[in-house]
């Protein structure tokens, strides 16, 4: 139901405004930036999807270590290739906006960190998460021992029902204890 015609209809704009956490200016800016990612012919087609590679050229996502996970989480494409339509893009910006609620943010954060999409964060997910956080270079990565100790500690602190994984409720419980989450889980165009 989205449109990538050069102008957003007024009705559609107000619908988007009601259903996302974005303001009118933010939606129009998002529309502008999204259109810039399309080629000239694609701009007039409705419902075009932009491939993940092109989305990742956006400066806000270019260096983010979670960029591919973000694209996969917000993509509604059937081929699971991480391509985003304009509405997926709005979803992304809405979840990362200033006024999004803590529940929405923690929900999407959980899905982004769930690298294997199985609904919980187990040891493998946590290890991948920590590697994303600490970067690519060898001197910043944690050693195996440190990784094991870290994951043990994380599970000890956050796994309330002691099943060896962190599910959504436990994740949200940890997030609620940290008041800085809402301000750091933001992307602004």
């Amino acid at each position: 139901m989205g449109t990538t015609a050069s102008q957003l209809g007024k009705d559609l704009l107000s619908e988007y405004q009601e259903l996302t956490f974005l303001t009118k200016q933010e939606i129009l800016l998002a529309h502008k930036r999204f259109s810039e990612l399309l080629s000239k012919d694609e701009r007039n087609l409705p419902n075009t999807r932009v491939s993940m590679e092109r989305i990742l050229t956006l400066p806000e996502l270019k260096s983010n270590p979670f960029r591919e996970r973000i694209c996969h989480v917000f993509s509604t494409s059937d081929q699971k290739n991480g391509s985003l339509s304009f509405e997926d893009f709005l979803d992304l910006l809405s979840a990362f906006s200033d006024s999004a609620t803590l529940e929405i943010k923690s929900h999407y954060a959980f899905r982004i960190f769930d690298f294997d999409d199985d609904g919980t964060l187990d040891c493998g997910d946590l290890e991948k998460l920590v590697n994303c956080l600490t970067g690519e270079t060898d001197d910043t990565r944690l050693t195996t021992d440190e990784m094991r100790q870290l994951i043990n500690n994380i599970l000890e602190e956050s796994d309330i029902d002691k099943d060896g994984t962190v599910n959504l409720s436990e994740f949200q419980h940890v997030i609620s204890r940290s008041p800085d989450f809402v301000s750091s889980f933001k992307i602004v165009l």
Partner: protein, 765 residues
């Protein structure tokens, strides 16, 4: 839970296909103990068990759109069918409950949002049915807060709200009287949306702060937010004082000599000369009552002391400047006290954590990535910072009980003692230096203009140099944790500022106010006001000098001589303490120089842009971890106590006990400033019977101690109730945690039983 997990074997590769993972059953180490077998991590569970595990409600959170569902392999699409088969069982009775009980509709929708809502055909209808129970705006709010994709939300919206589609007002079912209300609500919502977006961008400095935050992180942002808060406080103070005190006095100026009309540059700095006979300082304000009365030809004429009005013409409320001065200051302080206490309690609430353990590694790992940072270098810096923090904390835990040798401990003790002795000695020395200098200026009547600046310059110089010394000491001491180091430097800096302000207060209230004739001062309040004005200005000048010269020169030095490519870091704690110091001076001085908040507003405005420019040009993002919320709480509490409380105490002391000077100001010929309150009370009773309720209020609130006792009693009771509540909640939390653990054990037990049964069946059949 002590896992003796050997990760080299058991760290699983990522498989989203459960069929394969059961085939990749790895060889287990014999050293695995029972606890690990009980955990639900991936082991050689059978296919069926894995399917059950993966469709547990706690794990299907987030799989909420059709695309994700179809993403599962063909083989495991059977995964969904048992659910859809079972789902009508659960959804239908649930739906019936919802239809029957209107009351629980809201809870039902909340349940769908909060717990593991997943979007399948049946659920869509259920959701639409639930949303129709709400009004349009509430339903929209709920829909917006759901973690669904936008396409799904649009569809649900169309299904749920076609009946009240706003595009068609002319609908058969909407009667005439409702059309108007629908129209009004639609316009109202449009207005609200546009207003909200305008309001959010109207916030002062909204976009510069966003940019700063993106580049330098939340620590630096907390400094600028604090600056903005102080600006708003001063604005409030200025508005209150301006409306009730400055404005009335400005339109009825008292008679004064006009030969001091020239204004030189030096006078602007020292506050003498022209400025001392202006609205700026205490001495200008008259102790008269302004009476405006209307003559029969309705031309208002204002008079000073004498009333030239006829006695039969009713007077408008007489405006007594002394009473206005007194009550405005008191009420302004009271309002600021309430606002400070409120923001401090909110801040405490935000930073309070009901922590099980005092290490918060999980929160650090989950919440510390700042998604706003977009430059590659900043991203790398952030990764380094997180990595350093994690490694530090891990090593702290491992080697926490490292026994240092005796000599090392002794060395460390000696270093600490030396550093503390140095700092305390420097604080004592500087305080006594200021005291000596003030004695000298008092004794020698140094009233020439350039020399007046000496004291303020010395104080500002001390405030500039000594914190650098403290930072150096802290760096030499090599504290274990960066948090301890930060708190120690804050404490030393605070001690310095408190002692200097204390010495100055003693000078003003203990020496000058008590014996003003000794210094040959007609008007000691104006003099004190001028001193505060000078201190504030000198502070500003020295800050500007330090920002531009200090940071700029340090950057050049470190680049050219030391050949390091590291720019200096922005010292947040020191800058915030400087802001608090300036604000303390303003609060101290508002009684003597009512326009001082305006000066502070201008100063804060300029400091913002100055610091922003210096930050961009000279500094880099800090590598030290900064817990923004805890620090903000600390700064607000430092602002409240000792800064505000100290200023309030000294103002109260001045107003209560010190005799105002008899030659100038609104309180001349009174023994204390509070007498103006009594006099105004009497005057009101005589002049205006209608407003005598005001005097009744004054008498019962301030004169009567019973009211204060009542208020204190109620406050204490409320505090007691809240602390009991918190205790009770803690007990409930620990019980619930135990219960959750038991549930987890139940789950593990059932799953392993399931696996056993499957294995038994498998081996039999």
């Amino acid at each position: 839970m002590a896992h003796s997990v050997s990760f080299s074997i058991n760290i699983c590769e990522m498989e989203s296909d459960y069929d394969q993972s059961s085939r990749r059953c790895r060889m287990r180490d014999e050293t695995l103990d029972r606890e690990q077998i009980n955990s639900l991590q991936r082991h050689c569970w059978s296919d069926a068990t894995l399917k059950v595990l993966s469709s547990m409600p706690s794990r299907t959170a987030g799989l909420n759109s059709a695309a994700v569902i179809s993403r599962q392999d063909r083989g495991s699409s059977q995964l969904r069918r048992p659910q859809t088969a079972s789902h009508p069982h659960t959804s239908r009775p649930v739906q019936e409950d919802f239809i029957q009980e209107e009351i629980s509709t809201e809870d039902a929708v909340d349940d769908l949002i909060g717990s593991n809502f997943w979007f399948i055909e049946d659920n869509k209808e259920q959701l639409v049915a639930n949303l129709q129970g709400f009004s349009v705006s509430d339903g929209m709010c709920k829909l917006r807060a759901m973690p669904l994709s936008l396409a799904d939300k649009l569809e649900i919206r169309r299904l749920a709200f076609t009946a009240v589609a706003e595009s068609s007002l002319i609908s058969r079912n909407i009667p005439c009287y409702r059309r108007l209300s629908v129209y009004i609500s639609r316009t109202w919502r449009h207005c609200l949306f546009s207003c909200l977006s305008v309001l959010s961008s109207l916030q002062l400095w909204h976009s510069p702060m966003k940019r700063l935050c993106g580049r330098y992180g939340t620590g630096v942002l907390s400094y600028f937010l604090f600056l903005r808060t102080l600006l708003l406080f001063n604005l409030l103070l200025f508005v209150i004082i301006g409306l009730f005190l400055i404005f009335p006095q400005a339109i009825h100026p008292p008679p004064h000599d006009s030969h001091l009309d020239t204004l030189t540059g030096l006078e602007l700095l020292t506050g003498m000369g022209y400025l001392s006979h202006s609205l700026m300082f205490y001495g200008y304000y008259s102790n008269t009552i302004i009476k405006t009365c209307r003559a029969p030809d309705s031309k208002p004429s204002s008079t000073g002391d004498q009333t030239a009005c006829n006695n039969d013409v009713p007077l408008v409320v007489p405006y007594s400047i002394p009473a206005a001065y007194f009550f405005t200051i008191i009420i302004a302080f009271f309002i600021i006290c309430i606002i400070l206490v409120y923001s401090m309690s909110k801040s405490f609430g935000r930073s309070f954590q009901v922590l099980k353990s005092n290490r918060n590694l999980a929160a650090k790992v989950f919440c510390s990535w700042d998604f706003k940072v977009s430059k590659t270098t900043s991203v790398r810096l952030q990764s380094e910072k997180i990595s350093t923090q994690l490694k530090e904390q891990l090593s702290e835990m491992v080697s926490g009980e490292d026994k240092k040798s005796c000599i090392q401990q002794l060395c460390r003790l000696v270093v600490h003692m030396t550093a503390w002795v140095t700092s305390l000695a420097s604080i004592v020395l500087s305080a006594s230096g200021v005291h000596y200098l003030s004695e000298v200026t008092i004794r020698h009547h140094l009233l020439r203009e350039a020399e007046l600046l000496l004291l303020s310059a010395v104080v500002s110089g001390i405030n500039l140099l000594l914190p650098s010394l403290f930072n150096l000491c802290a760096w030499v001491e090599k504290y274990d944790s960066p948090g301890a180091r930060l708190y120690v430097s804050i404490f030393r800096n605070l001690l310095l500022k408190v002692s200097i302000v204390g010495v100055l207060c003693y000078r003003w209230l203990g020496k000058i106010a008590v014996e003003p004739e000794k210094q040959g001062l007609q008007c000691w309040e104006s003099f004190v006001g001028q001193e505060l004005y000078r201190l504030l200005l000198m502070d500003f000048i020295f800050t500007a000098l330090y920002t531009f010269l200090g940071e700029f020169i340090w950057r050049l030095f470190s680049e050219k001589r030391l050949k390091r490519n590291r720019k200096p870091m922005f010292d947040i704690a020191r800058n915030v303490l400087e802001l608090i110091y300036g604000q303390t001076l303003t609060w101290l001085g508002v009684l003597f120089a009512p326009l001082l908040p305006a000066i502070q507003i201008i100063k804060l405005f300029v400091v913002f842009y100055m610091k922003k420019a210096s930050l961009t040009a000279n500094c880099q993002a800090s590598k030290k971890p900064w817990r923004a919320t805890q620090m903000t709480t600390l700064f607000i509490s430092l602002l409240c106590f000792p800064s505000f409380i100290g200023a309030a105490v000294s103002v109260t002391y001045t107003v209560w006990t010190i005799k105002p000077s008899s030659g100038c100001g609104p309180f001349r010929n009174l023994t204390t400033m509070t007498e103006s309150g009594y006099l105004w009370d009497k005057e009101l009773k005589n002049a205006h019977p209608v407003l005598s309720w005001l005097s009744w209020v004054y008498n019962s609130l301030i004169e009567n101690p019973l009211f204060l006792f009542l208020v204190t009693g109620v406050l204490l009771m409320v505090i007691y109730f809240h602390s009991e509540l918190v205790d009770g909640q803690k007990k409930i939390i620990s019980r619930l945690e135990k219960q959750l653990e038991n549930e987890g054990k139940d789950k593990k037990f059932l799953i392993s039983k399931l696996q056993e049964i499957y294995e038994q069946n498998g081996s039999h059949g």
